[in-house]
Symmetry: D3
Subunit: 308 residues, 6 copies
């Protein structure tokens, strides 16, 4: 192939790839003046949240008791700014697409003007920040649970410094607050960052009580409508998923139906167990490794997978 | 230990570590003038491919319909350059090693001169680019499959913006084209980047039909000689692997024998199922979670793992 | 909410988050003059170790036989510096916390002065470096095992360039040496980096013989007190974990008790198998995929998970 | 001084430095939602302008004739975006300050709403871009003048690649267009970047004809109201400055009065000459090195500084 | 030249360049545990000082009145840390050299132990910070002087945002405080950063009163023992230098003798004037451009350079 | 202006700017496979040269006598690689242009094949490196001259750490070697980096003897054909330039004619003096500040600029 032929081939391909019909549903045309959802910004947000919640463990600066208010103050201010931008981005991103034919043509993002949306985004970011003290309190119970649940852990500091479950739960608990506030897209992007970092895929919609821990954690899946009580422990590879889901008259899955398990207090679920559907695993149950559970379990019962 | 003793110990260790015999098979001597395979370059290549295939979802620049051709043009040009370099690097890297005693001493990379290899690399990069419109078309079917397969997904935009399956399949489908063109090393390095990012290990040699999706995905393994039909759905932790493999007379595994499953159209395989060997899972089968499948399954059949 | 109200809410939250009681156990006050454990520094350490052990495969510089001693010399010098800092950071970090009420109030880190600790850290870094030639030798057997164990591998170079098992084992084998030398925190932080990168969670305390390999690897867990013989092969999702653990009189798990499996030579464990407790899997055993093993296996036996 | 005393001293200083009265006139309170003038953004703007005007000499990408339109298209699009932001920043920055007591309290920036200002900024950025073909044409004459004026120059390429006069004039000629369009602050910030880079301080308000060159250039000063004809050559250290300036009734300098020299066509001014005030240096004059000129010079005359 | 010959030549050169005698006086052997003087750290220090002194004009963060204390608090804390390190580096750097044969063999840096030096450095950094409110007050007079002295300036904001004289004086006034506190090397390194950025070379030892300004500034030199009153204005290229200096019995220049001009209040010195030696330029004098002054000037006198 | 109008205006401008005729002489079409001259690479080269010549003063690594050979070895290897690339870039850059109509159409760069050029570049880089020991020896005399020439200098270390004259002369003396070896473009680009950094513009073709120093230095110009003896000292703003230059029959300046001053041993030239043309300033002369010299000066004479 001559250089000329290659150039020709490239030019033709550029034409083909720029053809509007070839881009249908795969192209995001950005509205001028709106921020874009940004993984990098979300990673900064996560770092800021960690630095605010666990000062000295995360964040670049050295911290001491006398000046910690300066540090938290600066981090809170910056968190508000970045988060408001990303919330705004999330509010318009999905709406702004020509991909989803099911949604009404009247675009909510267009109906409300940019200034209103900006104000709302800022209020939501402020609301999230005001919830951080409570988020820190519940995370403190998770740290203790992780320490008590692992004989290999030598100190609380080790848990905070390197246990993936704490990294994931910090992101999840913040993302969950955003989810309950109705912020679209952004909470899910945040938990996907945790998913990529630790292999634990916890949907931001899940409801998870205090003193929760996951050991090792790779491969864990916790679905959107899960309800998890307090003092629950999971091991790696555990799935709390949906069995199947009803379709609407167009053959599309009906969204928002409760379809994931309810896990009551004090349950332990061992490695690679798969619990599917809106079943209830009663208080104090033990689910053995590599089991497949599709039915309710009475409180204080156990299930194991026996090999031949 | 005195400072002098430490310095002495270090110097001795440097000597030991530089000793040619200690480096045998673990040392890559780079041929002057040839590019090195580079994870960083491959990550740039992946970003460019994403920005070309899904403009506005990936890539730094804001995009609008009028100027999209400029963006795609610049990205295509840069993709060609980077890809040609990495293809060239791949072509010489493996050959260039003293590690593999099995390979003939006549080094194909030495036999063909650098200029010829450069020209070939450029042609292959051009060829890959010319396949991108088709790659985009098949990925479009995967996006729809992911959307239809997950009630938690609220829009196509969400799928494109944050679902790990799309990140992985974009890399896989590009790497697969390079694999079928005979590019060594590079396709595998690309899918390992996806593996690290999403926990899904899809060999670039696998054949995968349209409308394919994987939910959650962590722990999924799809082997080199797999053949997957259309409209197949996998869940996290599914292995499509090899059972065992014959050895040659020297006790080395014989390469290239079909040894992974054939999955026909419309199959669903639930979490943590393990399908091993050149078995055929017939059209419309359902493989339950945590099962171990080593035999063919007739079309439209189901298999479950029952616990005691 | 007015701008004033938002500012007020933020200020109140900063107060709440800076309140000493709210920070109890979640705050790391850094001792002036001591280095902090740093993921970034540990990643540099890992890159240096890889560049020293496998020159030309890792590290930025091009390498040739004549000048390799310069490269290794510079990398060794820098490794010593960075590692000594991180060892020092590890020695003081856990001690420095107010989190762990169980530990004696007499802080060993305070008792010994900074200069002594610095000297010790430097000696330990030097000691680690002096073990690198042996680390390289055992890693060389792992590379061969990975090559022989995967028909999809086309060359040793491919193994070294992109197989996640080699990335993980390089980190593990270095971290294990630090663990046996008594370095706190740092070895675990290093293996968590590998865990995040490859989904394989190998505790630095585990004892692993030569010619060890893990195929694909996502979801693998190897516990602290595991003992693994030579020529063992694992597949993705395999857990070598603890069954349960005795509590002390305060209800805390007793640390340091042998509680993970012993895997003898020549064992193969297939995908997603879960082996729990201080059981012995005898020489030459085969553990099938998706099994749950809680008892000893006699040498040369096999176990499979049969579905209905 | 004890650690406590130091902490106390720092805290007191923070208080003192945060005291509003101490900040009077030295503090820039940013209006929410407005971009800030940014040296970094301006440096990007300058790089983009250079890459558009002299493709292949500046800018990261390799360029060829076939695809140059893609490159210029992408660069133009990005230039418009960055420039519009900086123009907006400039329009509000000065107004937004409490420093300048002379300016009317009715803040023009507040009177016009943000959306109007954004639209204007975008139009001005577009207008600037539409002038770039003309800017390139006049810069082409400067390149020839630099080449002809320096026997040490071996090629036009050398002029474009490394002569500081071209770097400076590219910035000046772009900044001058912005100045004539009434953009505040930004043009001056741009020429100060050139000043720092090359030591040539050309005010963006100066009027400079084609085929202009400055040899070496360090220390050159060209004032705001200078008018320079065509084919003029300056050497390093030449000042075209103001003699003195009238004050208004408050003792403040009256702004905007013509107070710098008029240099007619074909003039050469040698090193370190200082020409001050609204004098006219006639066509074809030669001003010797180290002279001080405060009077008109008739066309074709020469002046020298004779030493004893 | 064959590849072998080249390699040989390189190896020989490495030997020659590593030869201790060839390094005599040109080699800095770093004492383990001591920080190195670092241009990068000094640039960070300068950025922090600017952000503290003129919040909102410099520094990345957006600032508002309510939260400015957080910002200044964080910046002050970081400034103390960085500055203490660099002061320590400066205290040992010069002493640590084998270059200067004149200095006594008893190394003050060795005599005092590291901990004492660290404490002193921290105290000096704290002292510098406690002087910043006064530094801001005098810089405020310089800003006004620059504004009043330039008809081209349109606002105070423009002065603060882009006038090189303010950049330089901010560095100078901070460096001067360090100089008067006896910090070696570091003040000079700081003013050399200003020199490189703006072309103004002001020795940190010079004494400069309030309301000082320099227009344009490139090429200005102000020597170590200069004393400048209040309300003085210089133009570009002005030298306040030394005439000649007495040598000691070994032919070395005697250090520390007053040898630069005294400039009294209200003096104006025009472009490229050179004032040399310990002369006094009386109150209210005007020194014309391109003059060479080596004698005292009585108050209110003028001097001009007349050309032929 | 409507958004549509703006888009139209931009598109038209892109067309205009891409028009081949508008690019004539201002466009650099890069030959595929050839490196580009790169300021960034040249800055790396300068940093490497400084780190090799003055270890411990420049370069990131800490250095000690025992391991200095590793450091120099690595730096030398990297310098050779980078320099060979830039020499190659320089050899083709100028030739590759359509700008210079005077040059023969037979492009020397095309006549000689790439491999030959690469080999030559590598040899030239090696040759340069082999001259570094001699370069260090002469720079050592310059360091002493700077120390002896400035009463404000407190140690040799201060000279090496922050005097701009040493930064400039290091670049100049390396660039001069490349210039004498016939490397095009690159030496000039290197001295322009020094020019921008320090305000001293020394042409790489100038011949400068040992023990040379420049105090302060901003604004100094030393022309291509200057010859400077030993023990010469210049002050800031001194020009050693060309008077005028003969034109050829086409009106172009004739290149390469000796046209700059000869400065004999032991000359001192004070601030802002301008010496023009092929004059000889005899041994031991003193040229006063702000003088303009266009005639020979007999040895041991002095010249001053007397003001009225």
């Amino acid at each position: 192939m001559s250089t000329q032929d290659m150039a020709h081939k490239l030019t033709e391909t550029v034409e083909a790839l720029s053809e509007p019909s070839s881009l249908k549903g795969l192209f995001h045309q950005h509205k001028d003046g709106y921020p874009l959802p940004s993984s990098t910004a979300l990673e900064d947000i996560i770092q800021l949240a960690r630095a605010i919640l666990f000062p000295g463990y995360f964040g670049k600066s050295q911290v001491n008791v006398k000046t910690i208010k300066y540090q938290i103050g600066v981090n809170v201010e910056r968190l508000q700014k970045l988060l408001a931008e990303q919330i705004l981005a999330g509010m318009c991103f999905a709406d702004n697409d020509d991909n989803t034919e099911k949604k009404p043509s009247a675009d909510t993002c267009i109906l409300r003007d940019l200034e209103t949306l900006k104000k709302e985004s800022k209020e939501m970011a402020t609301e999230l920040i005001s919830r951080l003290p409570a988020v820190r309190r519940i995370l403190a119970t998770d740290v203790v649970a992780a320490y008590n649940g692992d004989p290999a852990a030598t100190s609380m500091a080790e848990i905070l410094a390197c246990y993936p479950v704490i990294k994931t739960l910090t992101i999840f608990r913040v993302a969950h607050e955003l989810f309950t506030m109705g912020v679209p897209l952004i909470p899910r992007m945040m938990t996907e960052i945790a998913h990529s970092e630790t292999g634990m895929d916890i949907h931001p919609g899940a409801t998870i009580g205090p003193s929760f821990t996951i050991d090792h954690g790779t491969g864990v899946v916790i679905g959107e409508t899960c309800i998890i009580g307090k003092n629950v422990k999971l091991y790696q590879g555990v799935t709390l998923g949906a069995k199947s889901f009803p379709l609407d008259e167009h053959g599309n899955p009906i969204k928002g139906i409760p379809r994931h398990p309810i896990i009551e207090d004090d349950v332990v679920i061992y490695a690679n167990a798969t619990v599917l559907g809106r079943v209830t695993i009663g208080k104090g149950c033990v689910v053995g490794a590599n089991t497949w559970v599709m039915d309710d379990m009475a409180p204080q019962t156990k299930i194991y997978n026996k090999n031949k």
